[in-house]
Assembly symmetry: C2
């Protein structure tokens, strides 16, 4: 086999065992610096690429990383997946995606199935960061697990975005325009994103010496049907909110449909901010202001952290990376009462 020949050539040229070359390529902690340099010099001298050697080592056996997220239907999340997959594939790993349907029992089933099928690593979301069974399963998992956008569990590496700061920024933007009756739609506060969005929203009100109307806070909003229904219900209140912050991942569509059905003009009759950016937010008329963060970067970090962990190159303690969010201001927010009578 071409692969084994390559690694044997390198071992011979460097005057070390094949296993030592393998340990160098895997960044094994027991390899001393002089040995590492000797092997690297042999690889360089032979004109090989480090990755090609590493791949040949595996002799064609595909390694698997499983990724489990709440719902397949989160287009924006594809950016994360694609970037993570790209990085993992370069290193000889295949990424398999599955959906948890946001239920702990499915999360537990999947963790068991992944362990039994000996997948090499897992990236996942979990629906409830305080669920005892899931916590136990994560701590006992035989393979490294990286948590996506969850921050509480310290038995795993985590990548997150600063949703709290994003929500605070969005809320301050609306407050500065004069809005007081601001509705907030969020997902399940048992998980980090919704919990921190509620927190950022409350903090912005608090910093302004104001208090939000609790009747305008709607949580457990998880599908476009939910945003549709809650937006309908909110706009039928007397008085209705003057602004809606759809602080979810990719569910803006439901609110837009509801406002359209009610004949409410975005920006004129009601201001609108999306909790995550999307093609729809950008290309809608008027374009919709949105909280944004770099999902490609998040995917890159997730893959890198998991690769380090799978290869035993990660530090002993578990890491939590928080990426910044920003507010992309477009044309969907105006001072309340901007409606021009038609």
């Amino acid at each position: 086999m071409r692969g084994s020949t390559k690694i044997r050539d390198v071992a011979k040229a460097a005057g070390v065992a094949v296993g030592t070359v393998s340990r160098v390529l895997n960044g094994h902690p027991t390899v001393t610096e002089p040995i590492r340099r000797k092997v690297q010099a042999a690889i360089d001298a032979m004109g090989y690429e480090r990755d090609t050697i590493a791949q040949s080592m595996r002799g064609g056996a595909t390694r698997l990383v499983a990724c489990a997220i709440r719902d397949f239907d989160i287009p924006r999340f594809a950016t994360f997946i694609k970037e993570a997959e790209h990085l993992l594939r370069e290193q000889g790993y295949t990424l398999l995606l599955s959906s948890t349907t946001n239920r702990p029992e499915v999360e537990l089933d999947l963790l068991r199935a992944f362990a039994r099928r000996k997948v090499d690593g897992v990236m996942m979301t979990i629906s409830d960061e305080a669920h005892p069974g899931v916590l136990e399963a994560l701590a006992a998992a035989p393979m490294p697990v990286l948590l996506i956008d969850r921050d509480r569990i310290d038995t795993a590496d985590r990548v997150t975005a600063d949703h709290s700061a994003g929500a605070a920024r969005a809320t301050r933007h609306l407050l500065a325009l004069g809005h007081r009756r601001i509705a907030l739609l969020v997902g399940d506060t048992k998980a980090f994103p919704a919990r921190s969005r509620v927190q950022g929203f409350a903090e912005a009100f608090d910093a302004a010496g104001l208090a939000p109307d609790p009747a305008l806070l709607r949580d457990r909003v998880l599908t476009a049907e939910d945003t549709f229904r809650e937006t309908m219900a909110l706009m039928r209140l007397t008085p209705p909110p003057t602004a809606i912050f759809v602080a979810t991942m990719d569910l803006l569509e439901g609110s837009l449909r509801a406002l359209r059905a009610l004949g409410c003009r975005v920006g004129e009759d009601v201001s609108l901010i999306a909790g995550s950016d999307s093609d729809l937010a950008e290309l809608y008329t008027p374009p919709v202001t949105a909280v944004a963060w770099d999902l490609a970067e998040m995917g890159r970090h997730a893959a890198t952290m998991l690769l380090e962990r799978m290869r035993g190159q990660a530090p002993a303690g578990f890491r939590c990376l928080k990426l910044p969010t920003r507010l992309v201001i477009r044309e969907s927010c105006r001072p309340p009462g901007s409606a021009v009578p038609q």
Copy 2:
């Protein structure tokens, strides 16, 4: 275990072996009709649900179905996946999604990995329906494989949509409005959808006694960057096309960005039809006419056909199901020369 007790109870009540109950539940072809009726009567008499018994039989072992598609980033396709997953999960199967990046070598790697990990069944797209290596791997696969939206390979069950009829309908709509310079953007004609869209487009021109301008046909359009670039290039031709048929899955976004960048008004300066429906097509201003088909139904049929095959309940020959497409007429198409001078 509760599970095994149940199945033993049923076997005892029916006066048959436990294995016979199992074969009945799996729809094994060697089970005679009288035996099948006897076991079913016992299940009914004991007030059990057939699915509960079937599940208990598996003793908690998760069965896996792998699904491999071109790209994770096809939001509309999530409808297919979710529906298939729902049906499979009810039957005790977990669906794992992976991406082929539309390359035969990745398709081959995945087929090998799925076989080695003993997944129970596979649904996939393939990039080239005439690739000898892939054809061989499909014919030799140890597990049932169902092909998604591919029609040529008769060693597997297939679910497809009638893209040819959809493209013909879209083209006739534009021809009837008076368009002659109609641009067509399609994917890779090595696979069924693009091939049949080109065919439907040509047939509609032919039936009208007209011929399309070959300079306006752009294939291998696979990403939103491709639709952006090709739309830019087309609109810079002298004269530019009066209509663009973006006959791809979910890549409308790139064309809309290009037209916006060029200051071309959809419906006025150029008519536009999307090859697949989307929230963006529906909610854009003006709403975009689109070819549509029922992806949930497609997912249901795919899961059902694969389940039958995995359980040995399918007919000997391989099936090809073709679902109808339709044209959803919105406001993005007008007769050429409709532009109102600004």
